[in-house]
Subunit: 222 residues, 2 copies
């Protein structure tokens, strides 16, 4: 697929590199053309780079890495996003002492309200960026979940597929409102990683235990 990265920092760069290694066409966007090009030069693998506008025009699927910023501030004409899949991977800022406030509205729902004709999908917000640098082998070995929520089923399926491509176990989490639950999980895992000092390789998995019958038969499923 043609995947564009809006905001090519650590998160966008690491994910873009992984997707490029799996044969996807990647366009790294940034606020300046030079920055986007530099990321593509570093990433190699036939990736391209330039402005956020160019990444948006190029892609069918866009990764939006800029927390809490209205797309109107970084893309000159948001009409270009119409009908596309826009992945929100962001989490709220961590408050003093990890005293997270209640989530009244998710960042993903807010983003969707700012770009009304875009298929916003929440994903990739429950793992540290360092995990992408290890992918895909340990992700598969440890059945690391990528939770995916969005109101459009086709868009969810697209994002689940590109998550699976790089080693994650995609978990269908239904409609975009459930991004509130996923951002709560994002708050939790960052508390584990930073607050409880487990470090960046702490991940979340949803596993299916074998039933008593399956245990007797010696099966293991995940």
């Amino acid at each position: 697929m043609r995947i564009g990265i809006i905001g090519s920092g650590n998160m966008g760069r690491s994910l873009g590199i992984l997707w490029a290694e799996q044969g996807h066409q990647i366009y790294f966007g940034s606020r300046t053309k030079e920055k986007g090009e530099a990321v593509a030069d570093l990433a190699g693998n036939s990736t391209q780079g330039g402005t956020n506008d160019e990444a948006a025009a190029f892609a069918e699927v866009l990764l939006y890495t800029i927390r809490g910023v209205n797309p109107e501030e970084v893309i000159s004409n948001i009409e270009i996003l119409s009908g596309k899949v826009l992945i929100d991977c962001n989490n709220f800022d961590i408050p003093e002492g990890f005293a997270y406030p209640p989530i009244e509205e998710s960042l993903a729902e807010k983003l969707a309200s700012e770009v009304p004709n875009v298929r916003v999908v929440k994903a990739f917000n429950t793992m540290a960026q360092e995990v992408f640098e290890l992918a895909p082998t340990p992700l598969k070995d440890y059945n690391v979940s990528c939770f995916v929520a969005g109101d459009n089923e086709e868009a969810r399926n697209i994002v689940m597929k590109i998550a699976e491509d790089i080693g994650f176990k995609p978990v269908d989490c239904g409609g975009l409102r459930n991004a509130r639950l996923l951002e709560g999980m994002g708050n939790f895992i960052r508390f584990m990683i930073i607050g409880q000092k487990l470090g960046s390789y702490a991940t979340i998995s949803v596993n299916m235990l074998p039933t008593a019958q399956q245990q007797r038969l010696g099966g293991r499923q995940s």
Copy 2:
């Protein structure tokens, strides 16, 4: 340890049986003496049963399975709980369409405010009761987490130990305020189990991925 169950329904019965199998002394409490005795008769393993008052008087650690009920309603003199460890394993009721409201205050914090001299610990709220009937083997195999939050470190350690005894991987989640995060995870896993139809054997694990160096050395840690 002497463990009392306040409200011996499915959850309390299953956990009590597991703990008894690991050598703990169990007292099943219920609103009537007959009901508590009947659960103990069924459970066997030298367990005892009777009223909630009797369970509370007997135990060092109490499992409180009655969601949102003030202990004053089920224990005649709550002074008897003073200094004891009280485990809150409850989750909020599931709203229509899994449209969970924001968590302003956790059930565990509310419980703690009702019994001020008691060491309240949140735990055992992110798995279905059916999982306890499979324990401890698949819990160990799948590194199933038991998240534990509470303001008293000794009390957290006690609960982590009795979680480990029955096959869970205990995860220290710090102070009781973090019960909000854990109850959010409880909301999430029940959405997975019921809303997304994964069934009762869907569980949550926090796993530590091996670093790139550990991968090269062939190590696996959990």
